[in-house]
């Protein structure tokens, strides 16, 4: 009877495509909104995740997220290096200088100052030039989005100069840095130079990044550092989640996106669920005929589940395909770079679609099971 179920489903093309479209639309809406939400939150930790050399971050005990830093003492670096299990630990500076072009265009930037000797934390994804050129005097690496912001409409080119805090600096590389939460240029320079590109403060040490020795896990090392130095030490993942949680708690982003996602969920599920339920209701006469002929309840349930599963699978696949295409296109736009379709969002949406399908199927099955086969004689 499986083929009868599928033919009943596909027989009325308009209804069938309506069902598939409803589920595809619901899938696209959910995957799209949840992925954008998750990716935007992930952007709050972009500069943390771009540092692939170190697994441990050490900071002032009051620091809650990347943007909020209180300078450490220079002696803190030595104290961290003295913790057993530390393979190496170096300084990392973070500041927000104003960068100006010769034409007068300027922008507040994220400036990351890297340890002069090791350049640990340098951007690894380079579009032009190389991160080793940071060893040259008064050099800086700018990310592509920042370059386009500072030099709109001009081709990517090394050797251009910027002015930061009365210092003339030369662009020696263009990186593909992950997009920050706020659309500002991301720049990398050596620590000793970076501190001069910003107004001088008494202490400049924003973070210490460290790497554990092979036999020590990052979690063990963070516990040791905190225990011995009273500084806050977090693994890269923990620090990323600190930033995400901070924005979730202290900004309106989750409320705004939450409402959008809730609307997508409600509209999508109601449309998809109701459409399938109505499809079954409109076919009650056919199910009644099958019941009268002697098709058992278990087989009818199987037919409805097969219909629901077929529509859900096809709609989900089409919706996911549209969402993937959407993100593939927007991935190449500077403003939306790095925003991808996350597998977690696909899984979550799949679970929602499954839930809707099950609910609609249960309601539909109930209508069919309570249907008196004698109804078929009533026309």
């Amino acid at each position: 009877m499986n083929f009868v179920a599928l033919r009943m489903l596909t027989g009325d093309r308009a209804k069938y495509f309506g069902l598939v479209f409803a589920i595809a639309f619901c899938t696209f809406l959910l995957e799209n909104q949840t992925s954008i939400f998750a990716n935007i939150l992930k952007r709050t930790a972009s500069q943390i995740l771009d540092v692939t050399d170190a697994e441990v971050w050490v900071m002032d005990p009051q620091t809650e997220y990347w943007e909020q830093t209180k300078a450490l003492k220079d002696t803190d670096l030595t104290r961290v290096r003295g913790v057993p299990g530390v393979q190496w630990a170096v300084r990392l500076f973070k500041g927000n200088p104003v960068a100006r072009t010769l034409s007068g265009k300027f922008a507040v930037s994220f400036l990351v100052g890297l340890d002069d000797a090791t350049l640990a934390g340098a951007p690894r994804k380079m579009l032009m030039g190389s991160w080793e050129r940071l060893r040259e005097p008064d050099s800086v690496i700018v990310d592509k989005a920042g370059y386009v912001l500072l030099f709109p409409g001009e081709p990517l080119e090394l050797g251009r100069t910027l002015e930061m805090n009365d210092h003339k600096v030369t662009i020696v590389g263009i990186s593909d840095a992950s997009a920050p939460f706020v659309s500002l240029p991301v720049m990398h320079a050596r620590y000793s130079e970076a501190v001069n590109f910003l107004g001088r403060e008494r202490t400049q040490l924003s973070f210490i990044i460290a790497q554990p020795v092979p036999e020590v896990t990052p979690e063990e090392l963070t516990a040791r550092i905190t225990g011995q130095t009273a500084l806050r030490a977090r693994t890269t993942d923990e620090f990323m989640w600190d930033c995400i949680v901070y924005y979730l708690k202290h900004t309106g982003i989750p409320v705004n996106f939450g409402i959008t996602i809730a609307v997508a969920l409600v509209v999508g599920t109601v449309v998809a669920g109701q459409t399938f339920y109505l499809f079954t209701v409109e076919n009650l006469k056919q199910f009644g005929t099958l019941k009268a002929i002697g098709v058992g309840n278990s087989r009818l349930v199987g037919m409805i589940l097969l219909q629901a599963a077929s529509v859900a699978a096809l709609g989900f696949a089409i919706g996911t395909g549209i969402a993937a295409t959407f993100f593939e296109i927007t991935l190449h736009i500077l403003a939306t770079r790095g925003i991808v379709l996350m597998w977690q969002c696909v899984a979550l949406t799949g679970a929602c679609i499954l839930f809707v399908t099950v609910v609609a199927s249960v309601l539909s099955i109930r209508r069919v099971l309570v249907l008196e086969p004698a109804e078929v004689f009533r026309g």
Partner: protein, 249 residues
Amino acid sequence: MSPNDLAVSCRGVKKHFGEGEARIEALRGVDFSAGFGELSFLVGPSGCGKTTLISVIAGLLRRSGGELGVLGVSMEDLSEKERIAFRRRNLGFVFQQYNLLPALTAAENVAVPLLAAGVARKEAVEKSRALLARLGLEKRAMALPATLSGGQQQRVALARALIHGPRLVVCDEPTAALDHANGEAVMKLLADNAVQPDRAVIIVTHDSRVFHFAHSIARMDDGRIVDVRRNGGGNHSGSSDGEAVKEAS
């Protein structure tokens, strides 16, 4: 005729719907029988209980009282699952509005009872096409119901009712939606193909034009059988016997 020769035997069958003030007595003690090898007609005004009676006989509704034997089986002794299996094996249905599945071809519609019984799709459709050919629909076997005329659709429905060799065929107003010529044609096919020594056919109808096909005509009113006439074995030619029955009833 002994009870063992009867396909259907009703003794004081009652059926009511609802309780209290909403209670409706649809059958008030029906005595009715249908013999093998016969076309048994149930006639009467709308709302007299004809459809309820055939629903009870077909096991689609449970009776409220009385005794009912169908093909030698007491329907009340069967569980719901057994009743469904009994219907699947032993009963064929023809409905007023044909009730064909619109997404299936004529041959596939006919094959549904075989598919429900677990016959492989290919074999079921082949058998269906052969039966449709016998009913003069060979060329329309792959057509969808929407592209068939009313007479053709009822012939497909008739084929569906017969494909699995049921011992009891229940028809509800099989000619009501057809013009006279098509009604005659369908009734003739029904009489020629459904009437077998080991098979019984019960037909509910208002259509006096086809009374001449009947072996017996039971007239119902207000939930009871009020009159039963024999028609001497049915007359497929459509001549005076039918009129005689009509007048008698």
